[in-house]
């Protein structure tokens, strides 16, 4: 009968677990100062082509832009701390200084500009549909009576229903990748969100030739780099870095490397509009 030993052991394990988490909590507070040789950048980790965690580190267009900008600001790749920035959390992360800037499919809108500032834009995306290669959807009307897949609570699906296809049906999942198997098998007819995100999926080796973009341009999304509200100094530096990235051809190289296989008809680099 060694229950007393079991109890003692679990008590030790308990204490260890508690101290471990306590330490984990403490070590977070040091980030966000910037300039101290380290930089923390907010990104997406589950969007192939834009920001995706892979066994070889993070990959994607947003990551390439972030790396380039960080380099221009004087940080090497080893000085970057990556941090997941879920869509809902982006304003909070910047406000609290948990990250120095965010490169995560972050559209510049007036509503968001009340809480944060932007640099850029560095990319112009459109809301679009991802459909099977053999299907044809030429306008929003074609979408009526079709089954549309999107992410729970996302505005893009609501947008389509309201403006183009009131009779379209909506299947909602927690993430875009859950929609893909349904799209592949025909259980849903289209997946809607920004064309850059869709191109990322279409460009994946396993899906090549199966999906295509409908090319509908349902909206304009100017991707900016989110920064703390009113930080004009950082904004100027990032804008200069983005301009240099476009001028020296790295921008186009990054776009082609990440979206190339999708035959994505991307827009040329947008003019930088966010100043002061």
């Amino acid at each position: 009968m060694n229950l007393r030993k079991v109890t003692a052991a679990s008590a030790v394990a308990l204490t260890l677990a508690l101290t471990a988490t306590a330490c984990g909590g403490d070590s977070d507070s040091g980030s966000g100062s910037g300039g101290g040789g380290k930089v923390t950048i907010g990104i997406k980790v589950d969007q192939p082509g834009l920001g995706q965690e892979t066994p070889d580190g993070y990959k994607g267009f947003d990551i390439d832009v972030a790396k380039y900008v960080a380099k221009q600001l004087g940080y090497g790749e080893s000085d970057i701390t990556w941090k997941e920035a879920p869509s809902k959390e982006r304003e909070n992360l910047l406000r609290r200084g948990d990250v120095d800037f965010i490169v995560a499919t972050y559209s510049i809108t007036d509503q968001r500009k009340e809480k944060v500032s932007f640099a850029g834009p560095y990319f112009l995306a459109h809301q679009d549909l991802l459909i099977r290669t053999k299907d044809n959807i030429k306008s929003g009307d074609d979408l009526n009576k079709k089954k549309l897949c999107s992410v729970t609570g996302s505005t893009s699906a609501q947008n389509v229903k309201k403006k183009f296809a009131p009779d379209a049906q909506l299947q909602e999942y927690g993430g875009y990748s859950e929609c893909l198997s349904g799209l592949e098998s025909g259980a849903v007819d289209a997946l809607t969100t920004d064309d850059s995100i869709l191109a990322g999926y279409a460009a994946q080796q396993q899906y090549q030739g199966k999906f295509k973009l409908a090319g509908l341009n349902l909206s304009d999304e100017h991707y900016g780099i989110g920064i703390k509200k009113g930080d004009t100094e950082l904004q100027g530096k990032i804008n200069a870095a983005l301009k240099k990235m476009v001028d020296d051809g790295s921008w186009e190289k990054a776009v082609k490397a990440n979206f190339g296989p999708a035959n994505y008809d991307f827009e040329p680099a947008p003019q930088i509009t966010e100043q002061g």
């Binding site: 009968m1 229950l3 109890t7 394990a13 308990l14 677990a17 508690l18 988490t21 984990g24 909590g25 977070d28 507070s29 980790v45 589950d46 969007q47 192939p48 995706q52 965690e53 892979t54 066994p55 941090k83 879920p86 959390e89 909070n92 992360l93 609290r96 948990d98 927690g174 993430g175 990748s177 859950e178 893909l180 198997s181 592949e184 098998s185 994946q204 080796q205 396993q206 899906y207």
Partner: protein, 301 residues
Amino acid sequence: MTSVLYDTPGPRAKARNIVYTVVFLAALIAVGWWAIAVMADKGQLDAAKWKPFVSDSRVWTTYLLPALGNTLKAAALALVLALPLGAVFGVARLSDHRWVRGPAAAVVEFFRAIPVLILMLFSNEFYATFTDISSDVRPLYAVVTGLVLYNASVLAEVVRAGILSLPKGQTEAAQAIGLRKGQTMTNILLPQAVTAMLPAIVSQLVVIVKDTALGGAMVGYAELLRSVRTMSGFYANIIPSFIVVAVMYVVLNFLLTSFAAWLGGRVQRGRRSSGKVLTAEQLEELESVGPEPVTDGKSDG
């Protein structure tokens, strides 16, 4: 193999059982074959979708193992925090004072009546709105808070049932040697009840582990189920990822269940105290108002 429910099969019954077996087996094989055929047809059995799990150890080190660690962390924290809280409420429900008993009962019944998911959604939003907890750990806090609120109230019932299962003589003997009520509880009743409750507590851990998956799906905690999304974003193999993760849950929980059963047997064999050993099933029956469970070695086949 002998059961009270049916006679030992004679020649005709044996033949009939063989027919049943063959028909049932045929049905199982048909369903299995259909499933495999459809999966192969839809390309879900392609080597490319499964290969990463066996040939690329980095799948495990990048996605699955850290996520499994997060699942275990949330579950362990939840259990560790819920236990003392549950003990307090369980003992409070047995108090002699109505003003202690009443509120404790109300709290326990309230949190048992509300879905864990609702508790998690609430705590996540609560921490976001009213506190300054970093967004790194907030999902963990939300998941653990939701689990603690619910499981503490379940464990309160476990503790209460454990103490009630002790013979009345224990309390009376303690009173006879002049122990006060608090001393009786801490020195006599709780130590014996804890041994009796251990298997039920481990069984509750299975429930906690399963419920962490809710945090991944709805609150964004980076646990095992959540890792499917990141992983399949890269390998484009969402169905195989789901199957692998489901198997991991089954293995993990099966180990916990077996541990609970082993612990139950051990406690029963080596017991010096006089209380019963509570298993999860008996516990459910103790909670309900039905007749006392009679489980005296009757065979069920």
